[in-house]
Every structure is written in C-alpha cells, then in structure tokens.
C-alpha cells in the first residue's frame, strides 16, 4: 500500500486530481450544511446573474440557486458514476471471468452475448432503456451499466486468459482447489489493477452519459443532479449562460480529475509502462 502510494504520488497531476475529487466528495457530503435548503426551492429573483442577489453562481429561471444545485447535484452525479461503474464492473467480471477461465463453449456463448451488446449502438441503447424504464435515477444507472459492461468483460477475459495459465494457478489445481475459489481468490485479485484503472475512467464516462441523457430530457425530475441543471438551463444558454455553464464546468472538472486519477492509478498499478528511454 505504501509502495502504491509512493508510486502514485510521483504523478503530480494525479495527486491534484485526487485532491479535486476529494474536495468534490466532501462538498457532496456536506451539501446540506453548505446549502441547508432543498436545492429545488425557489429562493430568490429568477435569472439573477452570478454574484448578484446573493447568488454565488446565479439563479435559474425559477429563482433556484445554481450553486446549491451544483453542491447537491454532486452527490447524485458521483453516485450515478460510481454505482453504474460498480454494476457494470460486476457484470463485466462475471462474464469475463467465466469466459476467460473456462474457455471453449462457455467462452463462445458468453463472448457472443458480449459482442451483441458491443454491437448495439450504445448511447441509443441507453436512451431506449431509460425511456422504457422511465427516467429515474435507478433506470439511468442500469442503462449506463448495461451499455458499459462489455468493455470490462473483454478486459477481464483477457486478464483471466493470461493469468489462468500462470504457474501459481496450476499449482492451485494440483492442490485440488475448486474452480470458483481459483477464480475468485487466486486469479481475480491479480486482475484488479487494470479493472480499477478502467473502472476509474468509466466513472467519468458514466457522468458524461448521464449529462447527455439529461440533455435529451431523460433525467430524473425529482433529484437534483448536474445533468438536471444542464437540462433545465440548456435552452437559455444564450441568454442566461450561467445556468448551464457552471454545471457543465462541474462535470468537466470532475471528469478531468477522475481521468487524472485514472492515469495515476495506471502508473501506480501497471508500472509496465516504462518511461521513454
């Protein structure tokens, strides 16, 4: 662990990214302290410019505080990002592990299913799923997970293929270990590094997908999220730029930070990528 951290902190940008994300998480957790009012509350003069009428980042067309929306929305956006990633990583590991470990017919069948999901144009499919399940936070999470898992499955399969022939796995076989135990306790921990790196980037992608869905009007109407703010502000981008710009910037910063973390994780977990000689 100490070793990991020392390698991670060598990448200054990644440390910065981590700092930003921690800040955002703290902001999300303390949202109700920073802005105790419901972010949907109409609290002032509609369409106030930033820094006027007591609004740090301005107010939207109904007089809601954009800053409050961003602080409260951080929770939702991060939650969507993390949960969707967890779900898709879980599905991906399931498919990838069984396909890679057992090979043969099981591999063929699982990979065909994966291929099917990879072949469907993903964003349209996400729209379809959300539309069918009705826009809500859970349907958005499910939709994002359903369209993102094939990448993980392929990655995990590749890792399992590589690791399953390593000698320590063979040693487990000679000890009479069961397949499930080998997969879970022996192989999986050795595949975690690339999964963590890819997963960290998927969080960013999930947040972007959520904002795209919200842009198309497929956000949860009852929960404050950055996507919601963007959806609410996008038609007035030209007249009241702040309503949609600040949440957009919030997304940009978050996605950027997560990406920096992802690269840092990559450097720290996969030191295979040598510096140029």
């Amino acid at each position: 662990m100490g070793n990991f951290w020392s390698r991670y902190k060598r990448n200054h940008a990644a440390v910065f990214g981590l700092f930003v994300i921690v800040l955002i998480i703290v902001m999300a957790i303390t949202a109700s302290l920073l802005y105790p009012e419901d972010p949907f509350r109409l609290v002032g003069k509609p369409l106030s410019k930033p820094l006027t009428n007591g609004f740090l980042l301005g107010s939207d067309s109904l007089g809601r505080d954009v800053a409050s929306g961003i602080v409260h929305g951080a929770k939702t956006s991060l939650l969507i990002g993390f949960v969707a990633t967890l779900v898709s990583v879980f599905i991906g590991i399931f498919f990838g592990a069984f396909a890679g470990y057992f090979g043969g017919l099981i591999d063929d069948i699982l990979m065909r299913v994966t291929e099917i999901f990879q072949t469907i144009p993903s964003f349209i499919f996400a729209i379809l799923l959300v539309a069918i399940m009705k826009p809500s936070i859970s349907s958005i999470v499910i939709a994002i997970a359903v369209v993102s898992w094939p990448g993980v499955a392929r990655l995990v399969r590749g890792e399992f293929l590589a690791v399953k022939n390593r000698e320590f796995v063979q040693a487990c076989h000679t000890l009479g270990m069961s397949d499930l135990r080998i997969m879970l306790w022996e192989i999986l921990p050795n595949c975690l590094s690339p999964i963590i790196v890819v997963g960290s980037l998927m969080v960013a992608t999930a947040i972007l997908i959520e904002s795209g869905l919200a842009f198309l009007g497929l956000g949860d109407p009852n929960i404050m999220s950055w996507g919601f703010l963007i959806g609410a502000g996008r038609t007035m981008l030209r007249s009241a730029w702040w309503v949609c710009t600040f949440p957009g910037v919030a997304i940009l910063i978050t996605v950027l930070a997560i990406n920096l973390i992802g690269e840092g994780l990559n450097d720290a977990l996969n030191p295979r990528l040598k510096e140029r000689q």
């Binding site: 320590f168 063979q170 040693a171 000679t174 000890l175 306790w185 022996e186 000689q277």
Partner: protein, 543 residues
C-alpha cells in the same frame, strides 16, 4: 597481429536516485583487441549488460548515465562524442546483438528491410546493391533459403534463424567490434552451439573484437580468450580463460565455478522395486478444435506427446530432457493432470488417474505434487507465503492450525526464516521463491514430485543450492521425482534415470551414466555434443 580496439577505464554508471545502490557499474577497466573474444561473466544484476550498452551509448538515459570514466574507441572517447557521431559508429564500427531475437527485431518489418536500413543509414548504395548485399549476408550466416527469409517477418522464423538474422545485421558493415549480450541464452542447446560457432567463424573471418556478455561458464570455456568476472557492478577478477577457469583467485569466482553443474553423471543408486508412477501410451495433441458455429476448417493439430511410456520407482529421480517444443512439459502436465491426455494410462500405483473425475481425483492430488519453473509466476503475488503453503492441506480437509504448524516446519525444511510466513512473495529473491514453491509442493506430503525446469530461471549459484535442496528432500522424505530439464548438465547431476524426448516421443531412455557415456540415438548424441563447455567439464579447455 592484434591491436587495441576498445579501452574502458575507470567507468562508473550511475543509477537513478532511489535505486538500491548508487552505481550500476563502478570503476571498471576493460580492454578489447582485434580478433579477440572477451567474455564478461556475472550473475543477474552484476552490471555486465549496462557496461556493454554504455559502449554503444545505449544506456537508458536520462535515468541511467555514465558518471565518470572513459570509453576510448580509436581516438575518440565514446562518452563524450556527439550523438551524431555515435550514431555513425553504431552499426558500422560497433554492432550489437541481443539476448531475445524475437523482441529485438521489429515485428512488423521484414528481415530484408531491417538489414537494408543499415546500408541506407551508413553507406550510399543503390537499392539493387543493397538488396544483393543483404542476400549475401543471409547466405553468410548460413540461413537456409535466404531469398525467402529476406521477405519474411521475424515471427515466421525460428529462434535460431532470428538470431542468425540479427548477426547478419550486426555484421553487415564489417564492424570492428561486436557486442553480444547473452545472444544464446534464449536458444536451445544445439542451436546455441551453432550460433556460437557462427560468431566465432565470423570473428575469424573479419578479425572482429567480440565483447561477449554471458552468465554461462560453459560458453565462456568454449569461446573466450579473456574473461572478466563481475559482481555487484565491480570487476572481481580478470584474466585469460585458462587462468580464470582453472585457477580462480577471487572467492566469488571460485564459488561460481564450483556451483556449475558438471556433465558428470551422478553415481548410480540401486533401483527400488516399487513403481510409483507409470505411464502407458500417453498421447496429447493440441489444436484441431472447431469454432462455436463450426465454420471453417479445424486448426492445425500439434502432437505434443506421442505414445509415451515411462516408469518412476520409489526414491529415484527420473529426468526428462529435451529441447523446447519436445513435449516434456506437456508430459509433466499430463502426469499431474493439469491437462487431460488424449489417450493412454497414467497410473499412480495401481490407479489410472486419467479416468478419474475431478472430484474423485482430489484424494490422489496430494500424492503427486509439482515444482514450477518460474519462481515469479508460480507464486500468487497477492497471497501471503504462509497461506500459499498451508492452503493445500486446508483444502484437503486439515484444520487451519495444523496446516499452519506444518507450514512453519516446511519453512524450516526449505531453509527459510519462519518470519517469512506473513510476508508476500515479492519480498523474496528468485531462489527463496523457489524454496517457497517447493514448500508448497511438500505441504501435502506427496510421494511424487514433478519438477518442471525448477532451476532454469535461476542464477548458477542459486541453482546449485536448489538442486541440493531437492536432492536432500528426496532423500529425507523418500520421494520419487520426475525432473524435467533442458540442461543436460543439470540432469547429469540429479537424475538416476534419463529419458530423452524429441518431437513428443521418447527417443532414448536409460540410467544416466550409461546414457551419457554411450548414447545410442543420434539426437542424444547431438545434444551431448552441444553442451557448452563440455570439454572443460571433462578437464579440457579450448587450446
């Protein structure tokens, strides 16, 4: 007539800050003359490769760089010349060949193109001339069918052919110096012999000075004029081959030489009557499967093991020797049922384990265990040593406490500190890891140990210790051992009985001493002939 080509004096190479030592190479002096072969010998981490690279200006800058000293070539100090000058010298005056010809060649360029580049960047010749020259070079290095090889990609060639191509490339412009960085380590023993011969022929023809990096004293004995022994970045001994090999002065050199397995077969022991393992007509093929939808033809079939009969008796060590691809590892994996054989019987005592289901097999698992080749791949980096050793017994139903107790005992047996129990594999050296692997194999108190090249990834001094350990254990525990190796010297040292495999078949089998002394099969003969330094092993040295 010889003249001085290269003179390295007081050279130190700095490692990046934070490395375990400050210098990779410290205060070394070295000279190379025309027509001479200087071998730099040392174990991994001795700094021999970096020394070679420093000559070419190929240190992985900026992290690793020359700290002080000079490398004089002709009238120039190579540590000071411009990059452009260095580039001119590389490939034309000084050439280099590498250990792993597969990765050292660009996978997406044909051999011809890769040779052609040298001419394009050093001399001005027409395309036609260059092509002709390239072809003649391939002929020179005895490549079969050079017209075909010139258009081939590296992956289409065998390891030996690739290394020949590398040599052709290196010698293209008749360099004054050839630096060879373990050029035969990745090759089979027969191929190694051929490549060594090729290098030495070329050297004679071109009067090249060869700086040869190796860890194998056998190779040194075969080719070197002078020897430099390195340890931890310093030169500990230097002298003519004869001096160093026959009368080593430095204790390190002495210990190294003592550790080298000799081609002298061990003394035969009396054979026990009890057969613990017996295979009959074992066959295994790979490929030939069909895809899910059944399109297309089945893949090409490789018969890895064909109709193999072996017999292992209690307390003896049966060696299976052969070159890469001979099927010896496949046989080992069939015996231990990591893979299922296609045909034949594998009997543990009276029980044919090829027919057992995975569940029924489980009780038999503990009777036969395996030691693996790669000490780094054979231990799960995420699991503590204690758990690695004790999980076998736990799986077989032993309770946790007993298993731990046993694990501690095993650590003692394989010569590891009891504190190792709670540590992770990456904290150990290769030799220590191999001891952990042996402890794991012993944890189930097996009757039979299958050792698949257990020492081939280890430095020679460590190799000797592990071989000794295995032999001790076999003795103590009355184990029988199936010992897979490519190295006849190792086989000679540990095996009572030897089977020689080629193309999946056993071509010859017999008591070690008899087989080595009086090989019947042509292949066995050629294997024995190719063992590096065999003359030296039998007390002779290159004149």
């Amino acid at each position: 007539m010889t003249k001085k080509l290269l003179s390295i004096s007081d050279l130190s190479i700095l490692l990046p800050t934070g490395a375990d030592r400050q210098y990779a190479v410290q205060d070394i002096d070295l000279e190379l003359n025309t027509g001479e072969t200087v071998c730099v010998v040392g174990e991994s981490g001795s700094g021999k490769s970096l020394t070679a690279r420093a000559v070419m200006g190929l240190l992985p800058a900026p992290h690793v760089r020359v700290g002080k000293g000079e490398i004089i070539f002709g009238a120039e100090d190579l540590t000071k010349v411009t990059y452009e000058r260095l580039r001119e010298l590389r490939g034309s005056e000084i050439s280099m060949i590498f250990q792993e010809p597969m990765t050292a060649l660009n996978p997406v360029m044909t051999i011809g193109d890769q040779i052609d580049e040298i001419f394009r960047y050093h001399v001005s010749m027409s395309a036609k001339e260059r092509a002709e020259k390239a072809l003649s070079l391939l002929v020179d290095v005895n490549l079969p069918d050079p017209e075909k090889i010139i258009d081939a990609y590296p992956h289409e060639l065998s390891g030996g052919q690739r290394q020949r191509s590398m040599i052709a490339m290196a010698l293209a412009l008749g360099p004054k110096i050839l630096i060879a960085d373990e050029p035969t380590t990745a090759l089979d023993v027969t191929t190694q012999a051929q490549i060594l011969k090729l290098i030495s022929d070329m050297q004679k023809r071109l009067n090249t000075g060869v700086l040869f990096i190796t860890h194998d004293f056998g190779v040194v004995a075969d080719i070197a004029d002078r020897v430099i022994v390195m340890q931890h970045g310093k030169i500990v001994e230097t002298g003519t081959t004869k001096q160093v090999l026959q009368k080593p002065k430095h204790p390190y050199t002495k210990s190294l030489i003592a550790a080298i397995p000799r081609l002298k077969p061990r003394k035969a022991r009396s054979r026990a009557a009890e057969v613990v393992l017996k295979t009959e007509g074992v066959c295994k093929s790979f490929g030939g499967g069909k895809s899910f939808f059944g399109f297309g033809k089945p893949n090409r079939e490789v018969k890895a093991v064909q109709n193999v009969q072996i017999e292992l008796r209690r307390g003896e060590t049966l060696g299976v020797v052969g070159e890469s691809g001979s099927g010896k590892s496949t046989l080992a994996r069939c015996v231990i049922r990591l893979i299922d054989s296609d045909e034949g019987q594998i009997k543990l005592g009276d029980v044919d384990i090829t027919k057992l289901s995975r569940k029924d097999l489980r009780p038999y698992r503990k009777r036969i265990q395996m030691v693996f080749q790669d000490p780094f791949a054979s231990l799960n980096p995420r699991i503590r040593v204690g758990d690695i050793i004790s999980q076998g017994p736990i799986l077989q139903g032993e309770d946790k406490e007993d298993a731990s107790k046993r694990a501690y005992e095993l650590l003692d047996i394989v010569g590891l500190d009891r504190r190792s129990f709670d540590r992770f594999p990456h904290e150990f050296s290769g030799g220590q890891r191999q001891r952990i692997g042996i402890a794991r194999a012993l944890s189930l108190k097996p009757d039979i140990l299958v050792a698949d090249e257990p020492v081939s990834a280890l430095d020679v001094s460590i190799q000797a210790q592990i071989l000794e350990l295995l032999d001790d254990i076999r003795e103590q525990m009355d184990l029988s051992m199936l010992f897979i190796t490519h190295d006849l010297r190792v086989a000679a040292q540990v095996c009572d009985y030897v089977a020689v495999m080629q193309y999946g078949k056993i071509v010859e089998m017999g008591p070690t001493a008899k087989l080595f002394k009086d090989p019947k099969d042509a292949y066995t003969k050629s294997l024995l002939a190719a063992v590096p330094g065999k003359d030296w092993h039998f007390g002779k040295l290159k004149p």
